[in-house]
Symmetry: C2
Subunit: 246 residues, 2 copies
DNA sequence: ATCTTGCTTTTTGCATTCAAACTGTTAGGT
DNA sequence: ACCTAACAGTTTGAATGCAAAAAGCAAGAT
């Protein structure tokens, strides 16, 4: 075990009661592999031989295989009978399917959030928003993207609906694999920021219907961005195993 | 593409090319167990000892455990570390969370379906609808419920969005576990039928916005039905292992 | 030269085995 | 008598082993 515990301070709630808790090998593998797929370390279409992953993680095939099955059920892997697993390909059609769904999920979240959001949550979102705006001003795309993601998650959290959050996370992970932001045009970026202004405004006003509407439009535009990204050639389906150069 | 529209198989595509194909033990178990949970054969809260299931299905623990992990990731089972699996409990709060999500998913499906539904699909839905109405007239609740479910699935299919369908199926399974229909009042039932009339009407008119609206309301009312069902005592959380008598 | 065909190697699917954690019971101490 | 603590039995977590399927390769036929 060369692996020290990596703190993920901004993701999971750190309960002070049970710091000793060790996740099962199986769960750890699911998390690790999911990240690897979402972050693009494993490219779409890549075969995932069990043996090599076992060696890489220093575990036996049993927990690894359990993890593969779970990730397949999430749609991140494809299981070919007797031929192992492969990272699920993401076609343009797949993405165009996902965005409307994402749109309604976020719209619902916005509606619920407006009804429930606390002043504190709102303040946090506002702070992140303006920091994000700053990143936009500076042209710092990765940082912008990170905060963007975070804001959407906070809205989701403010909605206080675990079922919804679960679906959102799953879909969000699958969409993020596309990495379309890499070649987002200046115009699109500016538009997205404007929409985020409107989002913050509607949320501040607790205007659920309006926020839902804005979020749906926001997602539709995101979908457009992806479509444009596809035209440039780069996108969800790299032809061969290109190194992850972002 | 992959979409065989005239296959009348309601679940799996029966390809005539490979009748020999055997699903993996693992997949078979996932299906089987999922049904057992959704149909209530395994009651919420029930422990699921590996050994007994292995004997019941005549398989070893390895594929069974893989299936358990998948079902846990779907939210049908809870995995207690070192203490095995239990059928996930379904609290009233859980259900109240699920219905709004179900509502938006169905609403989106309705919207998409209006834009894409073929005459043939519409005809099939219409036929099922009026047969369902007949079951209502005769007071045949189980048959009514089956067709009801079927109609919603056909609308979903007409939407032609695999991602959406996937989420819908998962959530539908989890909601169905509640078996709230068992004690639906006459008034609620009649109301549901009326709403279905409106659904058919809007779909026939290809009025997406209206259909979405109706479906959302339909689901809100379903949620109310559940709430009432809870007041009568029966509901999602049977105190002990009551036989599944519906 | 290319395609077929049989064999060898590798990988997967599942069963079995081993170790650690939990459950329930009983013996001992206060 | 009650509470604590140790022990046996069971169940889970993970590793290993074994058979079947696929992938790679080479030799022969057309």
């Amino acid at each position: 075990m060369t692996e020290g515990t990596q703190m993920r301070s901004n993701e999971t709630e750190v309960a002070r009661g049970e710091p000793i808790a060790r996740a099962s090998l199986h769960d750890e593998l699911v998390e690790r592999l999911r990240d690897m797929i979402v972050e693009g370390e494993l490219a779409p279409g890549d075969r995932v031989p069990e043996r090599s992953l076992c060696e890489r993680f220093g575990v036996s095939r049993t927990p690894l295989r359990e993890a593969l099955k779970v990730l397949a059920s999430e749609g991140l892997l494809e299981l070919l009978p007797n031929r192992g697993a492969a990272v699920a390909r993401l076609t343009g059609d797949d993405l165009e399917e996902m965005f409307p769904v994402m749109g309604t999920l976020e719209a619902l979240a916005g509606e619920l959030a407006c009804a429930q959001v606390t002043e504190e949550q709102l303040a946090e979102i506002r702070a992140l928003h303006y920091q994000m705006v700053l990143h936009h001003t500076r042209g710092e795309l990765p940082q912008y993207f990170r905060l963007n993601q975070r804001i959407h998650e906070l809205i989701m959290q403010a909605a206080g609906n675990a079922t919804l959050t679960r679906m959102y996370r799953s879909l969000s992970g699958r969409i993020r694999r596309a990495r379309y932001v890499a070649n987002m045009s200046k115009a699109r970026w500016a538009q997205a920021v404007e929409e985020h202004e409107a989002i913050l405004e509607a949320l501040s006003a607790r205007d659920g219907a309006r926020l839902a509407d804005i979020l749906k439009r926001h997602l539709r535009n995101k979908c457009e961005t992806v479509r444009e990204s596809f035209l440039t050639g780069d996108g969800a389906e790299p032809a061969a195993d290109t190194e992850r150069s972002a």
